[in-house]
């Protein structure tokens, strides 16, 4: 359901308004609200999942709803709701010496970066908000938009810790975008399209036509992309911009309440985006692993989301297992390992396609 299709549908349903600007606004507004819901629910689910996954890995039970009166529901299912309520009701502090305008703007800039990337994610054959012919390129471009917000947040807080965090994250995200982009180029080389739907159509035909299994080089490309994706979302072992034990909170040290929760929301939205791109590019998108079965519209949403959740789970697994890298080691991994591997991969995929393709 793209915006165009929605606009046509609205025109036909409300003929008396046909051609009116209201319909254009509506056609944009409806998917945006739906998308906001998707991002909010995504954050709710992932925060709960993160709490539970980390708890089970650490021999704990995590949030549990025990006791009488106010409690977080069965198995702590309402824990995230309680967290959200707490964040909304918290005092909103802006430091006196902060750069007010930039300070207020920063969380929204980051959020917008994550938000507009989601619109190009295909949840099914027709369930996509904007099916652009340059979809993957668009996502790569707008997902680096968030960096501006991180630097703004780091700079405007007027706090040395925040500044460190902002600078670190800028260096990190910009560096890791290169191996991520280069490994996606191998996908584009194979599929010969930049459209997200086109990439998924190429992978129809079950598990073994997914790009990740199509050649050893594309498997390496998937690994490189996934490592870069973890780094782009600032998660352990690449969480140096936040680095709780060093920089307290990094760029969001001075933020509180709802403003802080926007950072949180966009962090999880970013996870959705990078995993969504990985699923689209390498794991067959919304295609069913068994050709010819389970490929209705409902199933396609199920496949897409469950593949994303699997990758998110791997990210959490990594996060709660590894220590954090140092800032220079982080750059070493990017420039000395991932980048040459990604470059070599492009070459490899080219030759592979030439011989077997």
């Amino acid at each position: 359901m793209t915006v165009d299709a929605l606009y046509h549908w609205l025109n036909e349903t409300f003929p008396f308004l046909s051609g009116n600007e209201i319909l254009i606004v509506l056609a944009i507004l409806i998917p945006s609200v739906a998308l906001f819901m998707v991002i909010a629910v995504n954050a709710l689910v992932l925060v709960y999942a993160e709490r539970k996954v980390s708890a089970f890995m650490q021999d704990r039970v995590g949030p549990m709803g025990q006791g009488v009166g106010l409690h977080a529901g069965k198995w702590g299912l309402l824990q995230t709701v309680a967290d959200a309520l707490k964040l909304i009701s918290k005092e909103d502090i802006i430091p006196r010496l902060a750069d007010r305008k930039l300070f207020i703007m920063a969380p929204f800039v980051i959020f917008v970066g994550a938000f507009i990337a989601v619109i190009a994610l295909p949840f099914g054959e027709t369930i996509i908000i904007a099916d652009m012919n340059i979809g993957i390129f668009y996502i790569l471009a707008v997902s680096s938009f968030g960096v501006i917000g991180l630097i703004l947040a780091g700079w405007s807080s007027n706090n040395k810790w925040s500044l460190y965090g902002g600078m670190r994250s800028a260096a990190q995200i910009i560096s890791y975008e290169i191996p991520a982009g280069l490994s996606l180029i191998t996908v584009i080389m194979l599929t010969e399209t930049l459209s997200m739907q086109g990439i998924i159509q190429y992978q129809s035909g079950g598990l073994f036509s997914w790009i990740v299994f199509s050649s050893p080089f594309s498997f390496i490309a998937f690994i490189v992309y996934f490592i870069a994706a973890i780094a782009e979302t600032n998660r352990t072992p690449f969480d140096i911009p936040e680095a709780e034990s060093e920089l307290v909170g990094g760029f969001h040290t001075e933020y509180s309440g709802m403003r802080w929760s926007f950072f949180f929301l966009s962090e999880y939205a970013n996870m959705l985006v990078v995993c969504g791109v990985a699923v689209t590019g390498f794991l067959g998108g919304w295609q069913s692993p068994i050709p010819g079965y389970f490929n209705t519209a409902g199933w396609s949403i199920f496949w897409f989301i469950s593949k994303i959740l699997f990758l998110v789970f791997v990210m959490m697994w990594v996060r709660w297992t590894f220590p954090r890298l140092r800032v220079d080691q982080l750059m070493d991994i990017c420039w000395k390992y991932l980048l040459p591997i990604a470059l070599f991969n492009i070459f490899g995929v080219g030759i592979w396609t030439l011989i077997f393709g």
């Binding site: 980390s54 890995m57 650490q58 021999d59 704990r60 040395k160 460190y164 352990t236 072992p237 969480d239 140096i240 680095a243 709780e244 034990s245 060093e246 307290v248 709660w320 297992t321 590894f322 220590p323 954090r324 890298l325 140092r326 800032v327 220079d328 080691q329």
Partner: protein, 373 residues
């Protein structure tokens, strides 16, 4: 590193900061990420321990010693008790000696677990921290069984201990040791030999033996630099000479001798050695005997002074007591191992990056309660 020089800035780490292990403030001069000078500011937890001691009786000093190194209270109690005993010439029953050693070694394990766990936290590994705290909890449960307290025990008294071992303690202790020994392997798999952990700690913050000695660093930090010096072995107090155990020293297995990894590894090995001592002590523990038998009615040491050192989990913990024949000490001085450890921080972390300073600070395993006293 440090080829391009930019403007320097002063960064305040602490006193409220997740990784200063208490209320320590570090004035750090940095050039970008590279640290050029560190000035530790201490005293935020100063409670006039030594002055207080001049105004209370010898028995009343013991709870104060609890609060110095609050993660290894048993060892502090033990050091104080044997110092006063030596000043007064008290012989304690054999059973008391064994109980003391058992408690001190359990507390050493608990203290090292805390040090290693929070060290993992300092370099960003959250899970090992909780694993180690889970096991430390079981030691604290045993202490609760013995004296009712979980952190500040006031257990080892001059001439004895406050309570006899409860029924079933020895079995509980054996049960813990049987459970705990394989856990060390898990820690090693999860953290010690983790590639990223090695990258972060090996070759970082190298403390050469001569620097360590000239700053007076003791304990695992000194042994991490390859100097074999353990008071339990070299100047045995209590009944440590009866036990067979090794003194692990840093060998530079994965980097240079005296790096952060070596200091970490020495602690890990010491846990294993403590388990060895505990097994021997539990085996040889006398069945009968009154633990209150040798406790003097009045503690009134003869005129004179004494300096006695013991090996706490942090190093050479010593008490200097001057008595003027009254029930209150004329002067009591505590030599704190963590205090000397923090003094070497500037020397070994200059030129490293900000993240490394946190890693080096964590590897020194300081306790602010003991530094400030």
């Amino acid at each position: 590193m440090g080829i391009i020089h930019g403007e320097e800035m002063v960064l305040n780490i602490g006193p409220q900061h997740p990784s200063t292990h208490g209320v320590l403030r570090l004035k750090v001069r940095t050039d970008g990420e590279v640290v050029s000078d560190i000035y530790p500011v201490i005293g935020y937890l100063h409670r006039c321990f030594e002055k207080h001691c001049e105004n209370v009786t010898y028995e009343q000093v013991i709870p104060y010693t609890d609060r110095c190194d609050y993660v290894a209270s048993m060892n502090n109690n033990l050091g104080y008790a044997i110092t006063v005993e030596e000043l007064m010439g008290i012989e304690v029953p054999e059973k008391v000696e064994y109980i003391r050693i058992i408690m001190a070694e359990f507390n050493r394990i608990a203290s090292h677990l805390l040090a290693l766990g929070t060290y993992g936290l300092d370099v960003g590994a959250f899970t090992p921290f909780l694993y180690m705290f889970r096991d430390r909890e079981r030691i604290l449960d045993m202490f609760e069984l013995i004296c009712g307290a979980r952190l500040l025990y006031n257990y080892i008294w001059v001439g004895g201990v406050s309570h006899d071992l409860p029924k079933g303690f020895v079995e509980t202790a054996y049960g813990f040791l049987d459970y705990f020994e394989p856990q060390v392997k898990e820690y090693n798999n999860l953290l010690t030999y983790n590639k990223i952990f090695i990258e972060r700690t090996a070759d970082v913050g190298v403390m050469p033996p001569d620097v360590a000695i000239s700053y007076g660093v003791t304990g695992p930090n000194l042994r991490g630099s390859g100097v074999k010096w353990d008071i339990r072995k070299d100047e045995p107090y209590s009944i440590y000479n009866k036990f067979d155990f090794e003194v692990p020293v840093g060998k530079g297995e994965l980097g240079t001798v005296g790096d952060c990894w070596d200091r970490y590894w020495v602690r890990m090995r010491e846990i294993e050695e403590s388990v060895k001592i505990l097994r021997q002590a539990l085996k040889a523990l006398p069945k009968g005997g009154d633990v209150h038998q040798a406790i003097p009615k009045k503690i009134r040491p003869p005129k004179g002074s004494i300096y006695k050192r013991t090996e706490s989990p942090r190093g050479d913990l010593a008490y200097y007591i001057t008595s003027d024949g009254t029930p209150k000490p004329y002067r009591l001085k505590m030599r704190s191992p963590a205090f000397t450890s923090i003094s070497v921080l500037n020397e070994i972390s200059r030129g490293w990056m900000l993240s490394d300073v946190i890693a080096i600070l964590g590897s020194l395993d300081i306790v602010l309660g003991e530094i400030d006293r």
